[in-house]
């Protein structure tokens, strides 16, 4: 069985992101990068499937410039078997990334694609569902539990939806998007880190993959949220009720 996990290189969660200059770009000079935490959940899930079933190959893929190889290595240090990087220097939009990944899927022919439900930087949450649409595969999102059937022909997924917990069954191959409660990702062990240095990373050029189309979505500026006027602290419940009344909240 082959599992393909997509991952994105994102600024460290909780890093303070500053705007540079007039807001045309971000100041990422002193920012560390990591595997997008939601994609880390997807890598972990793939590894658990591998450990439970045996004879499973876990391939990780990322679309980006050379630096994102650091994140592919991190995933291989956790236990992924090999990596593929689609070389792209610029700022591809979600649909372009999805098309690049679709081309990788067509080459690799995985049984299941696992992805984080969103990236913590742009929070668009579009790529995996776009990928499913391009492939014509069934999809499940906000997954908090995944069970594969004995013969790996289908997956039963519990999805955290607005109304509660929805259970769906997907015929494989399919795309599943990981959510926070799916699992708790492991830390890479020292032997894992050493082994990862020897695992292969294949690099594919865009030209090899076919047309991605032009970039049609771009961010042209950033700005900070407007500052809120400071609130007041009250000293007692009585004062709180008074404040409620003054503000006509009740």
């Amino acid at each position: 069985m082959k599992l393909l996990v997509t991952l994105k290189r994102t600024p460290q969660r909780d890093a303070r992101i500053r705007i540079s200059g007039e807001g045309a770009a971000l100041d990422l000079d002193n920012v560390q990068f990591e595997v997008n935490p939601f994609d880390e959940l997807a890598v972990e899930e793939a590894l658990r499937i591998k450990e439970a079933r045996g004879e499973v190959e876990v391939v990780v893929v990322s679309v980006g410039a050379e630096e994102c190889e650091q994140q592919l290595v991190s995933a291989m240090a956790m236990g992924a078997d090999r990596a593929v990087r689609v070389h792209h220097e610029g700022q591809p939009d979600s649909l372009q990334v999805a098309k690049a990944l679709a081309a990788v899927v067509e080459r690799e022919e995985p049984d299941l694609v696992l992805s984080g439900k969103l990236a913590v930087d742009d929070e668009c949450g579009q790529v995996p569902a776009m990928l499913a649409g391009l492939l014509g595969w069934p999809q499940a999102s906000q997954a908090s539990d995944i069970e594969l059937s004995e013969d790996a022909s289908e997956a039963t997924v519990v999805c955290e939806v607005d109304a509660g917990l929805e259970t769906v069954s997907l015929a494989l191959p399919a795309v599943i998007m990981a959510d926070l409660r799916l699992n708790e990702p492991r830390y890479a062990s020292l032997p894992g880190i050493m082994k990862a240095k020897k695992k292969p990373i294949a690099t594919l050029g865009i030209e090899e993959l076919g047309a991605l189309g032009s970039t049609r979505s771009r961010v042209t500026g950033f700005r900070a949220l407007e500052d809120k006027p400071p609130g007041i602290k009250v000293g007692s419940v009585e004062e709180l009720v008074q404040a409620f009344e003054e503000k006509k909240l009740i």
Binding site: L95, G125, Q126, G164, F222, V234
Partner: protein
């Protein structure tokens, strides 16, 4: 032909506040483009909701339902919307952000080969070649201006940021549309749904939310005190991720970056410290009230009214005071 189409998932008996806010987005987009907006009701209660939808200020309300849309699946809804749009092209196609649109709208964008903006807060401009929108990034700490450069584009809109339209006199024409057969993708089977039923208002509909954090120490300790407060206020109940992770409340109560994003009139945060991820889900609430025994808790930085107190004393006292007012 209008420029903007608002797609509403027609599953229940009433138009939700989110649906009414999506119509508000339609109005804003129409004003920006100098055009108008139409509505597509997609789902089993499409014709049932058409009269109400016809009073939202759109030009035409289309209804599309079939056995394949009885149960929501991303595959069927994306395919149905794509089939509709093949015959009825629109410049901008939008829907309110929900767990459903988060997964079927990108799929639809891929089927149509068009760019998409997620969870938009504001429409800046709409012209035939370019749409400019504002959205939040980096856990809601920054605003980004996004340009979609294409003759057709998709967007999901954050319903708390748009004015819910009040259904008025019916001014739209209603047009049923035939759904092409065999569109629902095989490969997905809906097995079941576990949803809490409650007398309390829905989190996305409520004017007042009482939200509980880890400081409440769980369903055997502080949560029932907060539930009583919610009852007196007629409020919905919300929770932080920590509370849901601990199994104290189900996932549908979660407010935050990865839960629901809300902006009610009043948000009462009890025993919750205010992590960045939680703030992302509620910081634009009109009035934020915080009760926490830690004066350094980050929630106090966004609270309009703050009370540093032990919630185990303060919450019952507050509930009693409100009850005796008859409020």
């Amino acid at each position: 032909m209008a420029d903007t189409l608002i797609i509403i998932q027609a599953m229940g008996n009433e138009l939700s506040k989110s649906n009414l806010a999506a119509a508000g987005f339609g109005r804003e987009a129409a004003a920006a483009s100098g055009g108008a907006f139409d509505i597509l009701l997609l789902g089993p209660s499409a014709s049932g909701l058409s009269a109400a939808a016809a009073g939202l200020g759109g030009g035409t309300v289309f209804t599309m339902s079939s056995t394949e849309l009885e149960v929501y699946t991303a595959e069927a809804f994306a395919a149905a919307a794509a089939a509709f749009l093949a015959d009825h092209p629109y410049r901008l196609v939008a829907a309110a952000t929900s767990s459903a649109t988060k997964e079927y709208f990108p799929r639809l964008a891929a089927l149509l080969d068009v760019p998409m903006a997620s969870d938009v807060l504001k429409v800046e401009s709409v012209d035939p070649q370019k749409v400019i929108l504002t959205r939040a990034v980096f856990v809601g700490n920054l605003l980004a201006t996004v340009e979609l450069e294409a003759p057709q584009a998709l967007a999901t809109c954050r319903s708390s940021e748009f004015e819910p339209q009040t259904p008025g006199g019916e001014t739209s024409t209603v047009e049923p549309v035939e759904m092409p057969a065999g569109l629902a993708s095989s490969g997905k089977t809906f097995v079941g749904i576990e949803a809490a039923s409650s007398d309390r208002p829905d989190l996305k509909e409520a004017d007042i939310i009482v939200s509980v954090g880890r400081g409440t120490r769980g369903p055997d300790e502080g949560i029932p005190l907060c539930e009583r407060l919610a009852d007196v206020l007629g409020a919905a109940l919300g929770a932080t991720r920590a509370v849901v992770d601990a199994g104290w409340l189900a996932n549908e109560f979660q407010i935050g970056q990865t839960g629901k994003i809300v902006a009610p009139e009043v948000y009462v945060a009890i025993g919750l410290s205010g992590s960045i991820q939680h703030l992302a889900g509620m910081r634009t609430s009109k009035t934020i009230v915080a009760i926490n025994k830690d004066p350094e808790a980050p929630i106090f930085e966004v609270a309009d009214l703050g009370l540093v107190a032990d919630l185990f004393d303060a919450v019952p006292e507050l509930t009693a005071a409100l009850e005796s007012r008859g409020g």
